[in-house]
Symmetry: D2
Subunit: 369 residues, 4 copies
């Protein structure tokens, strides 16, 4: 990076009213203590981006936060460090890194437990009492731009051989890993169902298989995605369009329930299905935002001693564990990446992601200066 010159201003997409994004010039920000300036090389579009742009951040207790205007969305990104803030010696200028979405305040009860994605000062980063919490592209400026400031806590190294596009998937894999962590971590030799073959679900298959889960069963209604799931390690795939998912899962697992379900579909009946896919005493991780409340058989949950874990994002340093598996080439995350557009063409990228045009799964925006 020697000789690299940081410009004074940069292009950034800024959200106005719902679904109104404008490309403007903004000053390049400066890193503070413990922070670095990242030149964004690639950013992936997440389904939640579409929601944030359309209806606002799903992160918070209702009524706590209005529609967040005048900021830059985009949260699954990677780039190159171009400037170090004070006290930073963990990284050097020129390092390629991926970025975790959440930086906790480091001061609340949750952050003190390592649960920084559940920071109790979530969103409290706007005024003189700012505690330093950031959720990139949710509550603070994100990555549909050229540069971003990030705390060293959110950085994860990207190995040389890995493409920019694949590196944007590290955080996605980290979310899947976090889900498996809260399920207890000891997945080797245990049956794991992943419901929903979106990017988190597909990488949930990959991470689960890498850690030795057996069998790994993937359900979805799109056959093409199920085929990718097979390549990422699914032992069985089930197209639930015309099948009872619970019955199909049990048939795929010697007619028994599995130990673990990683729910990545957000479907209306997802919880009721998941609790019937596990055996008595089984565990379910809810990793997908659903739409509206669901009817849930709570009596079944009690009678069968089932644990349900809602997870917000990618806590407990799970991203680093996932990054290591990708560095060790345990699975081929590039299978999840389908399309690439330049930053100037973000609207097209969003359209592909929203309408799943041409089989789009993960659409990546590359920063072309």
């Amino acid at each position: 990076m020697s000789g690299y010159e940081i410009p004074k201003s940069m292009k950034a997409w800024v959200l106005g009213d719902p679904d109104v994004l404008e490309l403007v010039d903004k000053p390049v920000p400066k890193p503070g203590t413990g922070e670095v300036l990242v030149r964004i090389d690639a950013v992936a579009i997440c389904a939640t981006d579409l929601e944030i742009i359309n209806e606002g951040s799903p992160a918070l207790i209702e009524g706590e936060l209005p529609f967040n205007k005048n900021f830059t969305p985009g949260h699954e990104y990677m780039g190159t460090i171009v400037e170090l803030g004070p006290t930073v010696d963990e990284y050097a200028v020129g390092d390629r890194i991926a970025v975790e979405i959440h930086a906790g305040c480091g001061r609340c009860e949750r952050c003190r437990m390592g649960m920084y994605t559940s920071c109790l000062n979530y969103g409290a980063n706007y005024d003189e009492y700012s505690k330093g919490h950031r959720a990139n592209g949710y509550t603070t400026d994100g990555a549909f731009t050229q540069y971003a400031v990030n705390h060293v806590n959110t950085l994860v190294r990207v190995p040389d051989f890995m493409t920019d596009e694949v590196a944007t998937l590290i955080v996605t894999a980290g979310t899947a890993m976090y889900g498996l962590d809260v399920l207890g971590g000891l997945v080797a030799g245990q049956g794991l169902v992943v419901t929903g073959a979106g990017p988190i679900g597909l990488l949930g298959v990959a991470v689960g298989k890498a850690l030795g889960a057996d069998p790994v069963i993937l359900t979805d209604i799109v056959q093409d995605r199920l085929e990718i799931g097979k390549k990422l390690g699914a032992d069985h795939v089930i197209n639930v369009k015309n099948t009872c998912p619970v019955k199909a899962v049990r048939e795929a697992n010697s007619n028994r329930g599995v130990n673990f379900v990683l729910e990545c579909s957000g479907a209306q009946n997802a919880v009721n299905d998941a609790i019937r896919m596990v055996s008595r005493g089984g565990r379910v991780c809810l990793a997908a935002f659903s739409h509206g409340p669901a009817s849930v058989d709570t009596k079944y949950i009690v009678a069968n001693n089932i644990y349900l874990y809602g997870i917000r994002g990618e806590g407990k340093s799970a991203v680093r564990r996932a990054a290591s598996l990708m560095k060790q080439k345990r699975f081929d995350a590039s299978l999840v990446h389908t399309h690439t557009f330049p930053l100037s063409d973000l609207p097209t990228g969003l359209k592909y992601a929203r309408e799943k045009i041409d089989g789009a799964i993960k659409v990546v925006i590359k920063n072309q200066e």
Copy 2:
């Protein structure tokens, strides 16, 4: 117990069709290897007994078990050991003991983890392939009778000073303890809400306070029960008849969410309330059977990284920990006991429990020969 003579036959209430209980003579059973014969001295009526008698056991996957006829219900009991089966040296004849409801098969994956209330051979105790699972008064004969055989794994010592009536509450306190265990155990100095002031809820308050939870907040709609909750250690009680429970809880806890909710009401909106009583990253234990499915805000659970733990009964030796607190007189469980009837008068006792006559909370049946 020297000179005590075990009779050949005994009186037992046997369930026929729904709500039909008959008092009959049955042979006194013989203890097998690792088992003892217990003379039942007292048995408490649980709300689940009423359900079992009326509609069958709530324990199992739907369709797995028909209405269980021709057996003796009753599962919260204590008594005196009158005979030892082969290999038993952990207890002696004459020992007073309370009895855990569940004996696991000891062979399935859950039993091997200590989760014997989630035994995968639940109910598989009827034929030549019996694995030894028992759920007293659920799937095997229970305690509305004079004698019962139990495995040593289910026994808990009763100290001399404790009355028979109070000793029937050891298992109830153990269920509350199990709930706090799955919530993580480290409740000292943490806010705990108990929703529902039935016996498990009231003893949940007592156990939570004994372990140092602060504040302990109890909600219910019956003021008399809330008053008992205060005596058992509740720092705040909230009558939710005319109040928003979430708002009231937050006001009672310095306008913040608590870390833990122990849900003991089974109320229709219980889960949605509970997840809003905890702060982001909080944990909820569901300890009560609800009636029918509930509408649950699953998106809120995900966005706020909330964990929900359904518990079936009293696993992981929690009953022994609860019994120890009661032996150490950390709380006065007798406050929960309101009425006593002789075994011959079981129908009256059930009526009191069902209709909550005369403020009935815990109705105990004493075995009066």
Copy 3:
């Protein structure tokens, strides 16, 4: 605190060569972001203070840190907040607080797990690459002075009714609590041996009993301290001057091993005794610095599946849990406090603590302006 004026300079004891402390004038420090200025009202003398003054901090990997000159020791203290740094709204001027010893960097792998007393940047707080780690009185200025700056993460509220002297013991109780936490937390109804009746050991008895351990057994060679242990909740005390501690413990526990040992003596044979006090599969926490290496029967540890947990200080917010028990008056920590001296008389206080004059256990220095 209205009208309270913070002076420009303060008296402080500063360490020169080993055992040379000098009372000097120093400027009162200013709180930075997330920090407060504390007026020190009371500080207790810890055995480690004597070691730090005599031979240096025991905290670090050998050779990593030279004898730490030119700083102020003292780490068990409480006081009153007199000034808030930027962004602090968790506390107000006038709040009485106790202070945890360790503030982690918040950036290393351990801090991200909540293990801030094991911060990988321990001691890295001296230069431009300072990561913000502080160990009061170990690696940064401590409390044998009038004012100190502390991060909000290290503060714990002191209730009105509690004396300054007792409040200095909150951190000591927190260390005992941390020890019980790492042992698994579920101590109710379990046998617990505390070896060594110094302040941590005595408060280990108190916290263990408050959490329901049964029996709690305390060993030491000083009968007076054992008597205090009884008052704090020990069910059995064993003077091991002329007794085999292992044999005596087993006799006091129905001839069985216990589940947990909290080792607070640092005695030469402490580990070998502790591993024989627990039953197979038992757990031992080492909470005391010993002097020099010990001969340890490692084969016994393996053959009996014993876990040993060394703990450094008071991690994982255990101090807050301990403070809550003290706020709830679960035990009388004042029994551990024996002597008080003014700040100007620190040398006398240290002499009492070192030579255990007049039965000294906890000697407290009060700040008398």
Copy 4:
């Protein structure tokens, strides 16, 4: 297996005085409730077998058990089920299985926690108060014979493609897995040092790498074994014959300590080295029996908040997780197997194992009728 006829008697090696093994005829045993009769197809020789034959079982509290005469050693074995005892439907005649060493009593506090290798009734299997504990080849008859009775709890399925010889290594891999489990299980992306390249150490490398540990570093003094370690997944191997192991490990890990050490050497300075290989807050599992007590720097353990986990054997169903990894062909355990002898030639096999003749690592005894 149709038509297979179980003979009435079998050949068995029986231990008399130390180092005296005699081949005798014994009746074939009968399986009881929950048990099966196994035709032993292959058994591997473990270093502990050599110790048991020479000086007795290392398992128990000193003085608790005399030298165990008149029994058959051998504990790492696999075979074919030839008869089912009452209630067994988990397996069928003809199934190939490997056998865990320990069957717990299922009644003590440890068994109820899933810690059946730490059964408190260890060795209590001889008389009318037998609780059913078995440690094959330690306290009950083992596998240097043709048939053995085993409880279903100890059985693990062997896939068709796996050779008998490799299947004897399932339990060895399970011990390594148990070690990683107690270290916390989340080894992906974490540095792991395995000290000692015996069979457990080598399979510790394999399992650790399969679970994503990075880097995996293996130390030993035998270069040939280190080379096998490389093939099993070690990123770095260190011959510590002429090197400081601590220094070499840190150099191999970017000059930092690792998170985890799996100690499999039993060497005199093993604990002191291991605690210096981990970073502050790191964890060490002691999986090898050492010879005699070692000098241990306990102060260092406390100052650096290090946890040490002694493990006895293969608890918590870890063998099943390891077996699954082998079924999924995550590593080639056959690399550890070096020699094979028939049952009649057991003495030669023992000699090869004891004297490491011809580079012997794992010597397997095949049952040739």
